[in-house]
C-alpha cells in the first residue's frame, strides 16, 4: 500500500501525465478554439494545484478556476465579525480551527483578541472543544463551526458527545456550507462558463459519488472526483478534458479507493441527527437559500447564536475582491490590492489568509517575480 501511495506523487509519472494533459487539452483547443475551462471546487485542490506546480505547468493549456471551496473565504464579513466578537464576551473560551485565527475582522482578528488576553484556543477537532468544556465547567466554550460536508459530521459528533456526557457549557456557532447548492447557484448565475468540475475528494467521502449526478442529469456538465497528489490531480484533468471531447457529460469517480457510491452513512446520519438545512450567507454572494446547515430546534441549547447576544457594528467595507474570486470571475492578480497592500503577512481579505484561499495560493505558489 505504501508503494502505491508513493506512486501517487511520483515525479516521473507526473511528468508523463502532464504531457498527456497538455495533449488532450490541445485537442480541445483544436476543436473549440479555446482552452477548456475547469473549476476545482475544493480549496485543498486549489492549494495542491498551486503548490505542486501543476497549475503553473498547465497554464497555457487549461484554464483552471478556483471555486468556492475554501471555508474561511466563503464566510461573509458579518459572520466573521460576530465570531471574533464572541471572544470578547466575559467567561467565554472560543475554540477554533487554526485557519480562523488570522482572518481579518472589520476591527481585529482572533489573533489580536487573544494577544489582548482573551481565551482563544486552536483545536484540531471539535471533540477537543468538548473536552475543554468539561475541564472548564464554569466557562462557556464555543466552537467556531465553519466547513463543508466533511466537517459538519464532526460538529455533529461533538454535539453527540456533549449530549452523552451532559455537557451544558458547550455550543457551536454554525457557519457551515453545502456543496450542492453553491454549485447550482454558480451554474445558474452563468457568470463564468465552466466546462467541467473537479469535485472535492474529501467532501465526497461523506456525500458519495451519486450525490453529483445532478450535474450530469440537470445541467449536462461533467465532473470528476479526484484526490490531491500530483498524479491524481493530473489524471483528473486528463479524464475530465477527455470527457469534454467526447461531448458526453459524465460523473467520474477517479478516487474510488476512498470515495464510495453512496458516501459514509454514519457521517450523513450524524449531520441529519442534529442539523437541518438552512439559508446561509456567502461572501460576495449574499444569502443563498438552503445552502448551509443549522441546529434543529430541539438542539438549540447547543446553538451559540441563541446562547449569546452578539452586537457588531456594520462590517467594514474594503476594496477586497474575495467575493468575485470565489465566484471564479477574476484571478487574484486582478485585485488592485494583491501583493501590494494585501499579502499573507498583512492580509486584507480571507482569501489571502487561509492557505487554501486563492489569493494566498497564488501569492505563495504562483508568483514568478
Amino acid at each position: 500500500m505504501k508503494e502505491i501511495l508513493e506512486k501517487f506523487s511520483d515525479a516521473d509519472f507526473s511528468i508523463e501525465l502532464l504531457d498527456k494533459v497538455k495533449e488532450v487539452a490541445d485537442l480541445f483547443y483544436a476543436k473549440h478554439g479555446r482552452k477548456p475551462v475547469l473549476m476545482e471546487v475544493c480549496g485543498s485542490h486549489t492549494q495542491a494545484f498551486a503548490k505542486s506546480g501543476v497549475k503553473y505547468a498547465i497554464k497555457d493549456h487549461v484554464h483552471l478556476i478556483a471555486g468556492p471551496g475554501c471555508p474561511v473565504c466563503v464566510t461573509d464579513q458579518t459572520s466573521i465579525d460576530s465570531m471574533i466578537e464572541l471572544s470578547n464576551k466575559e467567561n467565554v473560551i472560543v475554540c477554533t480551527f487554526g485557519d480562523m485565527m488570522r482572518v481579518p475582522g472589520s476591527r481585529y482578528t482572533l489573533m489580536q483578541t487573544k494577544s489582548q488576553g482573551k481565551d482563544v484556543r486552536i483545536v484540531y477537532s471539535p471533540l477537543d472543544a468538548v473536552k475543554i468544556a468539561r475541564e472548564n465547567p464554569t466557562k462557556e466554550v464555543v466552537f467556531l463551526g465553519i466547513g463543508f460536508e466533511t466537517t459538519i459530521p464532526l460538529l455533529g459528533a461533538s454535539i453527540k458527545e456533549a449530549v452523552r456526557l451532559d455537557v451544558e457549557n458547550y455550543s457551536i456557532w454554525m457557519n457551515t456550507k453545502l456543496v450542492e447548492p453553491i454549485l447550482r447557484y454558480l451554474i445558474s448565475l452563468g457568470e463564468v462558463k465552466v466546462d467541467g468540475f473537479l469535485l472535492p475528494g474529501h467532501v465526497s467521502i461523506v456525500t458519495g459519488e451519486e450525490f453529483y449526478h445532478f450535474l450530469r442529469d440537470e445541467y449536462n456538465v461533467p465532473g470528476i472526483i479526484s484526490g490531491f497528489e500530483p498524479v491524481e490531480l493530473l489524471s483528473g484533468l486528463y479524464r475530465l478534458t477527455h470527457c469534454l471531447l467526447s461531448g458526453k457529460a459524465e460523473i467520474i469517480n477517479d478516487y474510488p479507493f476512498v470515495v464510495s457510491k453512496k458516501g459514509n452513512k454514519v457521517a450523513q446520519d450524524l449531520m441529519a441527527e442534529f442539523f437541518e438545512i438552512a439559508d446561509e450567507p456567502w461572501r460576495g454572494m449574499g444569502v443563498i437559500s438552503k445552502s448551509g446547515m443549522d441546529f434543529k430546534p430541539e438542539f438549540n441549547q447547543f446553538n451559540a447564536k441563541r446562547k449569546f447576544d452578539i452586537e457588531i457594528p456594520e462590517a467594514r467595507k474594503t476594496k477586497c475582491k474575495c467575493g468575485e474570486i470565489i465566484r471564479g470571475l477574476i484571478e487574484p492578480p486582478a485585485c488592485p490590492l494583491f501583493g501590494k497592500a494585501c499579502k499573507p503577512v498583512n492580509p486584507i481579505g480571507p482569501c489571502m489568509v487561509s492557505s487554501e484561499g486563492s489569493c494566498a495560493a497564488y501569492y505563495n505558489f504562483m508568483r514568478e517575480e
Partner: protein, 89 residues
C-alpha cells in the same frame, strides 16, 4: 476544503485508533470507519478517520492512470473514440 492525510492504523480501540503518518503518530477517532482493521490505511481529517483506503481499488486506479500515459494520441489523429479504455472504464 478539508485537509485529508493518508495514515496507517497501527493500534485500534473501540472508538479510536493510533495511526502512523510516515513515522509520526497520532490518535484519531474512528466513528466513521468502525470496521477498520490494524494495517488498513485511512484518510484522516480533523482528528477523525473519514474513510478506509481500498488497496485493490487504489491499484486499479493506478493501472488506469498508467494506461493514460500509454494511450497513443500522436499522428494527428484524435484518439477519442467510444472504445477508449480510459473513458469507458
Amino acid at each position: 476544503m478539508c485537509v485529508g492525510v493518508p495514515a496507517k492504523v497501527i493500534e485500534k480501540e473501540e472508538y479510536q485508533a493510533v495511526v502512523d503518518v510516515m513515522g509520526s503518530k497520532m490518535t484519531v477517532g474512528i466513528i466513521f470507519v468502525q470496521d477498520v482493521k490494524v494495517g488498513d490505511y485511512v484518510i484522516v481529517h480533523a482528528g477523525q478517520a473519514m474513510s478506509i483506503i481500498d488497496e485493490e481499488a487504489a491499484l486499479e486506479s493506478l493501472e488506469t492512470w498508467k494506461m493514460i500515459t500509454e494511450a497513443r494520441e500522436a499522428g494527428g489523429q484524435s484518439p477519442i473514440g467510444e472504445s477508449n479504455p480510459v473513458v469507458n472504464r
